[in-house]
């Protein structure tokens, strides 16, 4: 089998087949009427849209099967607009298909490549122009121009410097300090250990000093999940056990993978699940990763109670909370 073997010959463009509308004036008239009807329907739809906009109250609902209770204002306006547009389009296409000439036309293509002569001329011209400009000889100009252009691109980069501050210690620190009370989110109420039954969870934040405000950036690092288990269920080393209080253990709620709030706590299995990428952490083993893409346990917050019997942090977090970054040391 090779290319030389004669292929089937091209029989050429098939003969043009006339449409009904080309041969039968009645069919053409019918098509014209159909197009006109479509355009009239479009106009009526616009009326529906404007009517709905002005006269249909936006608290009017009615029941439509499958869709449920539906807003009449939104539906009238939307359907009116949709059909106004659709019918114009359908009318135009129907018009084009049935009444505009539909004979296929053949146009020639030409190769894009310029004739050899032109190409050579072009190269010669460019070379000549380069020589005229002295690009070949005056290398000092070339080099300094290159330098100037290259270095001038630095200005816009430098100008972007003030987009934000340097990270400094920001990623490593949170608002938790020794003795910071744990308060409910939302509500800001301090919590006593006895407030939590075994199996209970609480979403907590650090207590605010008077006059202090809490920003979303604070919550993005400070959010903590408090869980109470039976103390016997823990499988922790001595240090981590000393970070718990009476079966209550606290973890950063900001996922060690990509920073979503890890708060799906399964009371029976003692698993914490992140809904974003399904990293699963075992609460009894200091939030060890047992499934999913996260590579690190959730940071544990050491807690104890203060003199009034409220839960407080023993110390700040001992590691950075949230997703990893280059400067993170562990």
């Amino acid at each position: 089998m090779s290319n030389e073997i004669r292929k089937f010959e091209d029989p050429g463009l098939p003969a043009h087949v006339h449409r009904k509308t080309d041969t039968d004036p009645k069919a053409a008239d019918r098509a014209e009427r159909q197009v006109a009807i479509l355009f009239v329907l479009s106009a009526l739809s616009t009326v529906l849209a404007i009517y709905s906009y002005i006269f249909v109250k936006d608290d009017l609902f009615f029941f439509i099967p499958i869709m449920g209770d539906t807003n009449a204002h939104q539906l009238g306006l939307g359907l009116g607009m949709a059909f106004a547009l659709l019918f114009i389009g359908l009318g135009l296409v129907h018009w084009a298909k049935t009444l505009m000439p539909d004979t296929e036309i053949i146009q020639e293509r030409h190769e894009f490549r310029s004739p050899e002569e032109d190409r050579n001329d072009f190269v010669a011209t460019v070379k000549e122009q380069a020589a005229d400009a002295g690009l070949g000889r005056r290398s000092l100009i070339k080099r300094t121009l290159g330098l100037a252009l290259g270095i001038s691109a630095l200005t816009p980069l430098v100008l972007l410097r003030d987009l934000g501050p340097l990270p400094k210690k920001d990623l490593e620190t949170t608002s938790w300090k020794k003795g910071t009370r744990l308060v409910t989110d939302p509500g800001d109420r301090p919590i006593r250990p006895e407030d939590l039954e075994v199996g209970a969870v609480a979403q907590v934040l650090p207590e605010l000093a008077v006059g202090q405000d809490r920003t979303l950036s604070d919550i993005g690092k400070d959010a903590v999940l408090l869980i109470r288990l039976r103390p016997s269920e823990f499988q922790l080393d001595a240090e981590r056990l000393s970070w718990t209080h009476d079966g209550i253990i606290a973890f950063s709620k900001i996922c060690s993978h990509m920073g979503c709030a890890v708060a799906l706590y399964e009371q029976q299995t003692k698993h914490l699940l992140c809904p974003c990428h399904q990293s699963t952490f075992d609460v009894t083993r200091a939030a060890k990763v047992i499934f999913g893409p996260s590579a690190r346990p959730l940071p544990q917050l050491a807690i104890t109670v203060d003199a009034q019997g409220y839960l407080v942090a023993q110390q700040p977090f001992t590691e950075s909370v949230g997703p990893s970054y280059w400067e993170r040391s562990s």
Binding site: E197, E266, Q267, T269, H271
Partner: protein
Amino acid sequence: MNQALRKLSKYRRHRFAGPALLIVALITLGTTFQVASALPGPSRMETTVQSTLIKEGKRIFNQGCSSCHGLNAEGSSIAPALIGVGAASVDFQVGTGRMPMADMSQQAMRKTPIYNAEQTAALAAYVASLAPGPDSINEAQIAFERDGNTAEGGQLFRTNCAMCHNFAGQGGALTRGKYAPTLMGVDAKYIYEAMITGPQSMPVFSDKTITPEEKLSIIKWIKAAENEPNLGGASLGRVGPVTEGLLVWTLGLGLLIGISVWLTAKAR
């Protein structure tokens, strides 16, 4: 008593009927008096009513529950102990049809309850009599329409509930095939009881961390979400962008390609 007997007769062909009856006979005799006398009774009359209820509960428990939860609700390898779970837990589990469980391999699902209200109350009374626990809730106690605040409830819901039950209470996946069920169409009192008892995978939400008023607000928000008409058209299940993407590839692009085929087809 007559009525109870009639109900009892309904279960006599149950596969546990034989052993259960024997157990009932033995244990009722042995424990009724003990339990009744151990209860702190405000008045003689109420104590009697209560003890009858407990007796009845014990009877039902032995028939329908004890094979898994143990004769004294002490639990077994396949089912947890029920001592101290309280009446609220029983009311939730039995009232929503989750218990008794038909298929142990699956998570207990909401289904038509097997026991009626009185039987459920009896069971609850019995389990509550074993050790103190959260009391069951009656509709009158949860005047969420009056005492709740929808917007606050939404805040609380998004912080405490949405991670499992989804932003609109439609439910969601947990690990290893477990799931958080939808909250749509659940009675307010069962939502309340679930929060205070922590059924199945769900943790407990203590009254101190989420106050009873806040719980009512959460319920009010859930009910508002449930009753919210579809403001923007078909809801697509309120599960986020997945169904939106599905719709655009099927209906959206499907329609457009269909019209393209018509548009480019030769008219006859």
